[in-house]
Amino acid sequence: MRRFLVVFSLILGVGMGLVAEQVNLTFYYPVSVAGPLAKVIEAMVAEFNATHPNIQVTPVFAGGYNDTLLKVQAAIMGGTPPDVAILLSTDLFTLRAIDAIVPLDEFIEADVDGQKYIDDFFPALMANSLLEGNIWSIPFQRSTPILYYNKDLFREVGLDPERPPTTWDELVEYGLKLTQRAPDGSVLRWGLEVPFSGGFIWNFEAFIYQTGCPGCNEVKIVSDDGTEVYFTSQHVLVALRFFRDLSVYYKIMPNGYINWGTVPSDFLAGRAAMIYHSTGSLTHIRNNAPFEFGVAFMPGLSCYGTPTGGGNFYIFKAIPESHRKAAWTFVRWMTSPEKVAEWSIKSGYIAVRRSAYSTELMSAFTSEHPEYLVARDQLAYAHKEFACYNRAKVTKILFDQLARAILGEASPEEALEEAQRQANAELEPFRK
């Protein structure tokens, strides 16, 4: 009888131990590319739950990136933050300002292969995660703008379809040939479309980085601590002059606002011969282009250059230690080479780790679709995306001033000085 009791209490104890170890995590995620991606995420999480009996992750779809940030902020104020979330890599400063997240260095150091894991990510994708000497987020759904061009139209105007433009001069030269006007002067087809709308400066950033020197990473428009911007630098000025001239002087691009969402449609309809758009649009364009198209690096002035964009994993602060550990296990699993490859193929985002490209799944896919490798290779010229404290406000300031210069309401110099002045005022409270 006594033996029975001992065994019984042992079983009970172990059983209760197991119950106590079960950790329930909440995971907020946005969806911002076309297609049923919420289902892909849910399926991946279900697979994680099935293989990790002690951790149950509940995925919570939270709209677009901005909606997800709003939901996270509300949850934090209510005292029930999610355990883990995908938010823009550039949301780092916003999350730091409300002290919402934990640095991940502790977890990385605790893992035997931690440093190897971090080094496997493309450095340009990691750049937005670094602040105050810590790593705050893990890249997951990332993209860069790339050049898409219509090979049929290249042939039509006598350009070599296998030689996309590589410099700004060539971009203008090709654009002039590709732009087609009716006898009355109205434009039938634009040589180039670069999205510029809605306070969104992502594509313009590319032009800034393209004024750098080859192999160096020194074109800076914001300080590392996110409290100072350098909008009046020569790099920004040169970029703005060229960006304005594309529509005002060379007239190979529509002047004024160019809607992000309609640029791929214009390209597919043959209304624009070349476009700069997210790598995330590649699948959409590949599935719908009724012509042969090419993908290439965006041309540069002295060097190729591009910003990165997209979302990273963050782990939150006001949760128990056991939750943070479980969240880290989840993040590591979601960013394992196989899962990174699977996610990249299903979503169209860049696979964020080098080793993902040597997985069987990915190499089979890229040997069939080599165009997906262009974005990866362009990462060698990538810079971190513009981010600072009060990012939404500062970005809007810059966008509005760029627009004034492009629409001819101010000279580029005046516009950038005004942007710098207003941005300084916004950033003042964050300077120590």
Binding site: T26, P30, V31, S32, V33, A34, G35, P36, A38, E42, T58, V60, F61, A62, G63, G64, Y65, D67, L70, K71, Q73, A74, A75, M77, G78, G79, T80, S143, W260, G261, T262, V263, P264, S265, L268, A269, G270, R271, H277, S278, G280, S281, H284, N288, P290, G309, G310, G348
Partner: protein, 280 residues
Amino acid sequence: MKGHKGGRAIRNLGHILLILAAISIWLVPLWWTVITAIRPVSETLSLTPQWITHRPTWENFKRAFNLAPWGRYYLNTFQVVVGTFLLQMIIIIPAAYAFARLTFPGRDLLFYVLLVQLMLPAAALIFPNYTTIKTLGLVDTKVALMLPYAASAFGTFLLRQAFRTVPQELEDAALIDGCNWLGLIRHVYLPLIKPVFIAFALNSIIYHWNEFLWPLVVINSPSKRTLTLGLAMAFKSQETGFDWPLMTATLLIVISPLLMLFVVFQRWFIRIYAQSGIKG
């Protein structure tokens, strides 16, 4: 005589053209939505606008149906909309009556305080409301979607103004005849202010049917999502440009019941709006 007749014909023609123009403002976007929803993706990329489609397809609707369990979302939205409205009735009818007919100290001050609510946009109250809901332990419940709207200042204001137009004598007569307070509301006040009451109901239903931000913040479980959250799955493709056929097909799935309701009851709707003088 003949000239007079001709003048009338021209005037009638003018009326008809005017009405056609007005109809087309409403009809063209709807027509475009329907056409885009049933055309193949490749056709949406045509250089010139295509007003009809030669190859209608259900493919977009199939994709839209696969996005989310729409039946469940319908049920959720329906429950929330009806629940919110019932809660509002329970609270604002007595409140409106009290502000309209009873005299008690501080009545006017209280009323003005209530009106301040009208001036605050709902989005500004998201954080405080969330904190309250959290304290009550109601996060991720449908009740949380209804509660912040229960004491509608707009509804109270509207009904109070309407109640005041009812002659005091009618109330007195009913009371003398032995009618109690509930009976008074049911048989005297509500029938007399029916148009205002229904206008408020429509306003409430349409607002909560379309609401996005608050459900987004409060709801976590996929099984409790409302229609608007489902719509977001088709519409939030900000990184890749717009998939118009999918967006329009999803939109039609979501709005078609309301649209049908409107077509069936349109005479009634219009009469009510015309009587109450409320803009939608």
